[in-house]
């Protein structure tokens, strides 16, 4: 008992340390690298007219959004995995991104939308509808949403929606040009206004996840046990799914598709803090935030002078981990 508590403390401190270091690096590194002293100046809000400090300040929204998005995606993945008892639940596997893409591209071509908050609203609706559809499709039948059913439903949705996206996009080269940057996930485009706009959804999702955590812990003991302990199993499931969908839909709305964060982080964190959701949620927040910031940083280092979008980096890191998890799971439970 004592030892595992120590392990958790060490993990917590190390996690925070990694997060802080990656935030600093992310603020200072870029096509124009800046010294640490200027970063500290910028955070404290002094020497604002200095050129380097203003560079750092322009990077702040990106980093803040990276922290929020990484945390939201991880908690979203954690919720989905807890609800389905399914190790591979993740927004990208569920095809949610493509749903968001379809709505955005329709808005661009048919209604000529150009404003950020309109994109966000459309993407949110699209992601939400897709999530519910895919989830419903996979839950049909007595075995519930098994990994394979969930993954296949998600792939099916992606293929179908992608061809609809192409139908709308291909005749219109203006939309095609605008859209291809949106189709790949990146935290670079977020502005402060966007973040403020979407913040309530994030807060709602996180609070819902925290409130539900003890119920979800009980649920992990099995449906019968949970029911006999007086928990409304269906309601907890629905609310937890809702929290997961809200978190990933709002991230997708701003960042586009960022794959596999929600898949990787809960698995990594579980190794250190065990399976208690009350500890898993904060640990996932820290770990997910650092992972996305680091992915973004790697993208900027490898892609310099430009950047490789973080959505691409997370997919390239995450897909092998996905395969590793699939290999570890027993055949019978697929």
């Amino acid at each position: 008992m004592k030892r595992s508590q120590n392990k958790r403390w060490i993990f917590g401190v190390m996690g925070m340390g990694v997060l802080l270091v990656s935030i600093f690096l992310s603020l200072s590194y870029g096509s124009e690298s800046v010294g640490i002293d200027k970063v500290i100046d910028a955070i404290r809000g002094i020497n604002l007219q200095d050129y380097d400090t203003s560079i750092v300040r322009s990077r702040i929204p990106r980093v803040i959004f990276g922290v929020i998005a990484g945390a939201a995606l991880s908690v979203s993945g954690l919720m989905m995995q807890s609800v389905t008892r399914n190790p591979i639940a993740d927004p990208s596997i569920l095809g949610i991104n493509t749903g968001a893409s379809l709505f955005v591209v329709c808005g661009m071509s048919f209604f000529n939308i150009t404003e950020g908050n309109q994109y966000i609203l459309l993407a949110f609706i699209g992601a939400f509808i897709t999530a519910i559809m895919v989830y419903g499709l996979a839950s049909l039948g007595s075995s519930g949403p098994t990994p394979i059913k969930l993954a296949l439903s998600g792939t099916a949705a992606s293929i179908s929606l992608q061809s609809l996206v192409n139908t709308v996009m291909l005749p219109n080269s203006r939309v095609m040009d605008q859209f291809r940057f949106w189709q790949i996930g990146s935290i670079g485009g977020a502005t402060t206004e966007d973040i403020i706009l979407i913040l309530p959804y994030f807060v709602l999702g996180f609070i819902l996840a925290l409130i539900l955590s003890s119920h979800l812990n009980t649920l992990a003991l099995g449906d019968e046990t949970a029911t006999s302990l007086g928990i409304n199993v269906t309601r907890v499931r629905i609310l937890a799914s809702l929290s997961g969908v809200i978190l990933c839909a709002s991230t997708t709305a701003l960042a586009g598709p960022i794959a596999f964060i929600g898949l990787m982080v809960p698995h990594m964190v579980r190794v250190f803090v065990g399976s208690d959701l009350k500890k898993l949620i904060p640990a996932s927040v820290v770990c997910g935030a650092s992972l996305l910031i680091i992915a973004d940083l790697i993208g900027r280092v490898l892609g310099s002078p430009g950047e490789i979008e973080s959505g691409i980096i997370t997919a390239i890191i995450g897909a092998p981990i996905f395969i590793f998890i699939v290999r570890k799971v027993k055949v019978s439970s697929l």
Partner: protein
């Protein structure tokens, strides 16, 4: 009695094949004659026989003929390859476009086209190699602790995510002009197929299809399940590997010519077994169905709307409802 049933099924199979062939022929003739200018069958035949004097000759020989051949042969190849995968893995959802094998070819093709400026022959070779490599990796990874189809499909989906990320990255890196071409190619299109691409395609598709169709007896036994096939003395692994390699070759060469035409590999097999019965492995009928799908969808994409759509967009939309239907049935049945 049993023999009677067998004969009946065989008759139905032959009959279906003939009907499909006639439909395909009609589509072929239509696609050669119809277009911005409509030519009579007589003109088309005369031009094809070598009369290059008429004004029609450029359109027919250089534009419509390669397009038609590419449609027929790619459709045929996708149909047969998809059917092989589905039958081998015993799951209609396990078609190459779903489990990431097609992406394995696409990624090399995109790389070759956008960054190396290779000729189409070199791109074909590159994407054959990369497709085979990806298929091998998927198989090896899914072998751990006993072979499982579910695991293979899941690993394929993971692989696809990885490869698609690479493709997106390359498309973003490339200059804008190439991008619209690459996007069109990625959604599967018969536009701009030249006569020299078509020749390679035909030379590859015909012999491989013949081999696959003649191997199908083994596949019929495999469909009973690997253990039955083993007791009947079939070398399961070698046959499996051979069929997969051959299908992969078909996919790679057709993908290079037209891009990954969505859903054709996935749709052809199930449609073919609906119309010609479940008795045999339906190789020939799947191929013909694939060709009909591509030709039909191309005509729709070309002339049914005010804008011209690449064929893959149309087949993708056709495939979507069926995919969802299949999943609903699959989910209800439980896995």
């Amino acid at each position: 009695m049993i023999y009677d049933g067998f004969k009946k099924r065989k008759k139905r199979y032959i009959l279906t094949s003939i009907v499909l062939l006639i439909v395909l022929l009609a589509l072929v003739i239509f696609s050669m004659c119809y277009g911005n200018t409509v030519y009579s069958i007589k003109t088309v035949v005369e031009t094809l026989m070598g009369d290059t004097t008429s004004r029609a000759s450029f359109t027919i020989i250089n534009l419509r003929l390669p397009r038609m051949i590419a449609g027929v042969f790619c459709g045929f190849a996708f149909g047969i390859a998809g059917n092989t995968f589905q039958k081998l893995l015993g799951n209609p959802l396990a078609s190459p476009d779903i489990i990431g094998v097609t992406s394995g070819s696409s990624v090399a093709a995109v790389f070759g086209i956008l960054f190396l400026n290779l000729s189409s022959v070199s791109v074909s070779i590159l994407s054959v190699i990369s497709g085979l490599l990806v298929a091998t990796i998927i198989f090896l990874l899914s072998k751990k602790g006993g072979y499982s189809n579910s695991r293979l499909i899941l690993i394929g989906i993971g692989m696809q995510a990885f490869l698609n990320a690479m493709i997106s990255w390359m498309i973003l890196k490339a200059s804008e002009y190439d991008v619209s071409g690459a996007l069109r190619w990625l959604s599967g299109s018969l536009n701009g197929v030249g006569i020299e691409d078509v020749i390679i395609l035909v030379l590859v598709v015909i012999p491989i299809s013949i081999v696959i169709i003649s191997l199908r007896d083994g596949l019929d036994v495999l469909q009973l399940g690997s253990s039955h096939a083993l007791t009947l003395g079939l070398n399961v692994n070698i046959n499996r590997v051979l069929m997969i390699i051959l299908s992969q070759l078909l996919i790679a060469f057709s993908t290079v010519t037209t891009g990954p035409i969505a859903s054709v590999a996935f749709l052809s097999g199930p449609i073919a077994s609906k119309i010609s019965g479940r008795g045999s492995s339906n190789m020939l009928t799947s191929g013909l169905t694939g060709a009909i799908l591509v030709m039909g969808a191309d005509l729709i994409g070309q002339y049914a709307f005010s804008v011209r759509y690449p064929v893959g967009v149309i087949t993708g939309i056709l495939g979507a409802p069926y995919l969802i239907f299949l999943l609903m049935r699959y989910s209800k049945k439980g896995v």
